[in-house]
Amino acid sequence: MLEIKNLQVKLEDEDKQILKGLDLKVEAGKVHAIMGPNGSGKSTLSYVLSGRDGYEVTEGSATLEGEDILELEPEERAAAGMFLAFQYPVEIPGVGNMTFLRTAVNAQRKARGEEELSASDFLKEVRAKAKTLKIDADMLKRPVNVGFSGGEKKRNEILQMAMLEPKLCILDETDSGLDVDAMKLVAEGVNALRDENRGFLVITHYQRLLDHIKPDVVHILANGRIVKTGGPELALEVENNGYAGILAEEA
């Protein structure tokens, strides 16, 4: 599904290399988790994959179902099935959450040559999905993320993911800022989307999310590279011992 080879990325405006030859393969139907120290490049990886400005790919490639995505505009990547749940969801004053969702859903459908969702079908679907994430009608009406609590923002990300039904879902610290119940809701939302045709890349610092979203593979990202890959037990090792041991071993 997603295949990243020797990805090297620097900041556009600064002479600062952040990703230093990253290799990663996420298969359809699988959940891969990425853990790693602060500043190791996890968010950078997610931004580069979704097409944010400010980064320069100096080497390597990234393909989604065989298609080179690094050349695509962010919206084209979205239409190709890429989705990023932001570590810090953006507030957009003046744009209603509902308008935003409908515009996004229909834009993707259009880009894929599908018919737009009718207003009533859309409403029905949003309401149902919002309900399972305990997002109330008021939050749907409000401007995108404006005045949302940290946890509400994260649930809103998952609602967008549920509506857009992407092929590859990247979740960047979706668990941060969530209380125990919200974490369960979010995990249920993610698990409901697990499917043999969909891949997940879950970035997190904590095992507790992985208790709910069981990963197939766990990677450790440090200093711009994947330094270790293993099964779920690797996350437990990090939880218990931190990164020092792993990093020393790989150095």
Partner: protein, 426 residues
């Protein structure tokens, strides 16, 4: 004091091209206004109040030619139940207008004020304009009072069931229109007035609005889509106790627009909201000049102006809140913002507060900025194409001003026009 020579000769040249209409009982008011013009002289580039906007083409004897624009869309506000009052190039068109009769108000043309002996109108015509000449001079308004060739006098006595709608048609590329309306909203009465259209190649419009205690008026206007037209408009409003006046103006296109609003809150607990949204592309200069005087206790005023500018367009905002001695518990809010879609466009703002009372809450802010890149990326990452995302962000920027319109249907019509404007520029 003698006027500077340049101003003197420019004023004389303009006056030479005009003739004072023969109108019995308004004659004194017109004469007085004419002498105000002669004393003040017409605006020139040297004037502090015209620092950001060149008045030349608004002042010169002949109106610059402006091509008539034929829009391929249903005119604004057409879908609403309304009483339509049509002016073509500044001349009332009885044929095209509805029958001017509706419960709760009377409408007369200003030329009929005298023969019908309409006292209230006689007592209002030119009065608010004259009051509005201090502390800042507004010579184009005085010129209007003196030479207005048409307009209506509206007296609102009850709750009017549907809006009045002024349709200002521009049909002659050399037209030069001067219209003057006087509106009196009586105690407890309520009316919505809509205005739509460019009116002429050059349009000088003056509206004097006197709202008695407990009266309410909503004004929503759109200044047409003609690119080459010019307009200088003045809104003078005086608000009595517990009265409400809310105005919103949409400006798309037009090479030059100067909209002045001069509001006096003279009765306690009165509310005045003045808002505007403008979108300009290229040869576009738009100036909102607002002067709000708080002269009573516990009044609220709000100014919300948003400008979207691209391809070298210019936006100007001069807004002042004057709180007089004794106008305690004043709540004054003023925001003017521009969204610059490129580096060539500019926004010039001069927000001012002058306060002589101690128990007041006044705030003002002015900002100028580009589209929020973070927001744009967020939208695009969800699959919204760049152009569409930019439009969404632009409409979102304008929303605070559009939200000042209370009627949801009218607001929706305004939004759809803005969407159209943006879509045509993709």
């Amino acid at each position: 004091m003698a006027l500077p020579e340049v101003k003197q000769s420019a004023t004389e040249a303009r006056l030479l091209a005009l003739t004072l209409p023969e109108s019995g009982c308004l004659k004194a008011a017109r004469q007085a206004a004419l002498s105000r013009v002669q004393t003040m002289g017409l605006p020139s580039r040297r004037d502090e109040y015209w620092k950001y906007t060149k008045p030349d083409t608004l002042v010169q004897a002949d109106a610059p030619k402006a091509a008539v624009f034929h829009a391929d869309e249903v005119p604004m506000f057409n879908a609403f139940e309304r009483l339509n009052i049509v002016f073509v190039d500044g001349v009332f068109d009885a044929e095209a207008s509805d029958h001017l009769e509706i419960e709760g108000l009377t409408i007369d043309r200003i030329e009929d004020i005298c023969c019908k002996d309409i006292h209230w109108a006689k007592d209002l015509y030119g009065v608010l304009e004259a009051r509005g000449q201090t502390p800042v001079e507004r010579p184009l308004a005085a010129l209007n009072t003196a030479f207005a060739s048409d307009g209506v006098a509206i007296r609102v006595t009850g709750k009017v069931s549907k809006p009045l709608n002024f349709t200002y048609v521009h049909s002659d590329e050399n037209s030069d229109a001067i219209l003057h309306h006087v509106i009196r909203v009586e105690s407890g009465a309520e009316v919505t007035v809509l205005e739509n259209g460019p009116a002429a190649s050059r349009f000088n419009k003056c509206m004097e609005i006197d709202i008695a205690d407990g009266g309410t008026m909503h004004l929503v206007r759109a200044q047409g889509r003609d690119h080459e037209r010019r307009a200088a408009t003045h809104l003078f409003a005086r608000l009595g106790t517990e009265s409400v006046f809310k105005s919103f103006t949409l400006t798309v296109n037009g090479v030059l627009t100067r909209n002045e609003a001069v509001i006096e809150l003279t009765g306690d607990d009165a509310v005045a909201h003045i808002a505007g949204a403008c979108v300009g592309d290229g040869d576009f200069h738009h100036d909102d000049t607002v002067f709000i005087t708080h002269d009573a206790v516990n009044c609220e005023s709000r100014q919300v102006f948003k400008k979207v500018l691209r391809n070298g367009a210019t936006g100007v905002f001069q807004g002042k809140i004057l709180v007089k001695e004794g106008a305690q518990k004043t709540d004054g809010y003023q925001i003017s913002q521009s969204l610059l879609l490129d580096d060539d466009s500019q926004f010039l703002a001069k927000p001012e507060l002058e306060i002589y009372a101690d128990d007041v809450a006044c705030s003002h802010g002015s900002t100028s900025g580009a589209i929020d890149e973070e927001g744009l990326f967020y939208l695009r990452s969800r699959g919204v194409p760049h152009a569409e995302a930019t439009d969404l962000m632009t409409l979102a920027f304008l929303a605070e001003a559009v939200d000042e319109i209370e009627d949801a249907e009218i607001a929706a019509d305004i939004v759809s026009r803005l969407e159209g404007w943006l879509a045509r520029r993709r």
